[in-house]
Symmetry: C2
Subunit: 295 residues, 2 copies
């Protein structure tokens, strides 16, 4: 053991073994345009991935397929079916059969019961959330002092704008990203935006927990600030969510309640802070848009 | 009976009794903008509606709440839980408790079994579809001769552009509409776009079937052309789906298979026809966009 594993491994239980299944993210298709001309264009790939936990079928996810192993980990985490990443022995994805096989170390307690209740939610992608969506939120404690500087918010928005993406080449996908201040740690796209955030949650689970404290993180999503996005961000301990889109009423209410700062309609210098504006430090003054003269 | 019902009612079983629950579609909230100034803005309302069928809890939908009774009817129809609208005696929506109570005439056969399988799908809103999504599609026969004229397509896009909407005032909702040729029959918005299409399906169910043959209809959605959108349109017998957004791979594959014409990226004069372009009649030539001179 001492010969093959670094010293600190003794202090941390092993991480799951993961395949690295890959598959093309876009494909070319023939289309006809408004002049009746035949053309080719790229569309995002979309595959079904059926998740089996200890040989029991759990769910089928429709995914772009960029990081299926992280997606499965994050799905199990965000559905609160598994408490610790160390409880998972392996995740094996095989695109030939569209299956992700999860092997746990100790099984999942009362899995039948915990996957019985269905709530159809607003967001894109994983509309179905097992169990009561709101059950846990009063237990969430986000760092009360965590703040984001407006100058860093502008760097976040700029980094997203400049990011190479499936969206730019093929459209029809949602993106999310995790930032530490203005530094982008991970950028993920998927056909369903819940898959994208779950993939980030799965990736975070695999990192050193000391590095992955959420308090200094910012979560970006191209989608709306719905209640599920807010809850998933809060579950990861991330106190600020930024979007180019707007908010829904439930998203706003949940963010109010858990102390999360939601910033929507963020493009270039413009944005609206919907909740907990005390987390936003106005350290720069953006240029005023040109205005019509008063009559 | 003859005194209170019109003559033709004798030939058609009774329609369900429906409440007409209403509630405000937007609300004003305080926000802070990029200058640190406090402002108000409108956001769409979002409510949870738990559907009970014969006193059994079926699902909780998150909805804007514009037409909850049609939504519930369309949900039951599109999930293929109830075959005929005449099998439903009443739908009673009470926003005070967030409940829709459905009373059927004869119950739903094997409801436990038919709601057991879960597929998490790509689209927005009702991600969860009971039973196999694709099980029925090979039984769908869309009118082989149905076509849409390009001039009518442009009228559809223009009607949507000019439609007064929650989206214009508050953003963060999806819209759908049903057209007969270029005539808009119904426009529906919801926080989840599957709710919007289900509401249209519910409304269609209530109309005279002779009027609601899908062959001369066009379905418009602001969302992506995902497989569920294509399937729901095909289930309504509507052979053409138009969107301002793009397509996903599964959406394209299902549309190919059922013979449905999908038209995406439709804005002003531009569009891409992804599938079955023979349904589109090029009766007008749009203006060419200005082009850079060849070198």
């Amino acid at each position: 053991m001492l010969l093959t594993e670094p010293h600190h491994a003794a202090f941390r239980p092993p991480l799951p073994r993961l395949t690295t299944a890959c598959a093309p993210l876009t494909r070319e298709v023939r289309v006809v345009n408004e002049f009746g001309e035949s053309r080719t264009t790229a569309i995002p790939a979309e595959r079904d991935l059926t998740v089996y936990v200890d040989k029991r079928e759990l769910v089928t996810l429709m995914t772009l397929g960029a990081h299926p192993e992280w997606l499965v980990l994050g799905y199990l985490r965000n559905q609160r079916l598994i408490e610790s990443v160390h409880d998972i022995e392996s995740v094996t994805v095989d695109w030939d059969v569209g299956a992700a096989s999860v092997k746990t170390r100790h099984g999942i307690d009362a899995i039948e019961e915990r996957t019985a209740r269905r709530v159809v939610t607003t967001g894109c992608g994983q509309g179905s959330v097992f169990g009561g969506l709101m059950d846990d939120i009063d237990r969430i404690r986000l760092s009360p002092s965590a703040q984001l500087r407006q100058s860093d918010l502008y760097r976040v928005v700029k980094a997203i704008r400049e990011q190479e993406s499936v969206y730019k080449s093929a459209g029809s996908v949602h993106g999310c990203a995790l930032f530490r201040g203005a530094e982008m740690l991970l950028f993920v796209e998927d056909v369903g935006r819940h898959n994208a955030v779950d993939t980030i949650a799965g990736w975070m689970w695999l990192q050193d927990p000391a590095e992955m404290d959420g308090a200094d993180k910012v979560f970006y999503t191209t989608g709306r600030l719905t209640s599920e996005m807010v809850i998933k961000s809060a579950q990861m301990g991330v106190p600020v969510v930024v979007s180019r889109s707007g908010t829904t009423q439930m998203g706003l209410e949940v963010a109010e309640r858990v102390g999360l700062c939601t910033i929507g309609r963020a493009t270039h210098h413009r944005f609206l802070c919907f909740t907990h504006p005390q987390r936003l430090v106005h350290d720069v003054v953006p240029p005023r848009p040109p205005q019509a003269l008063a009559p």
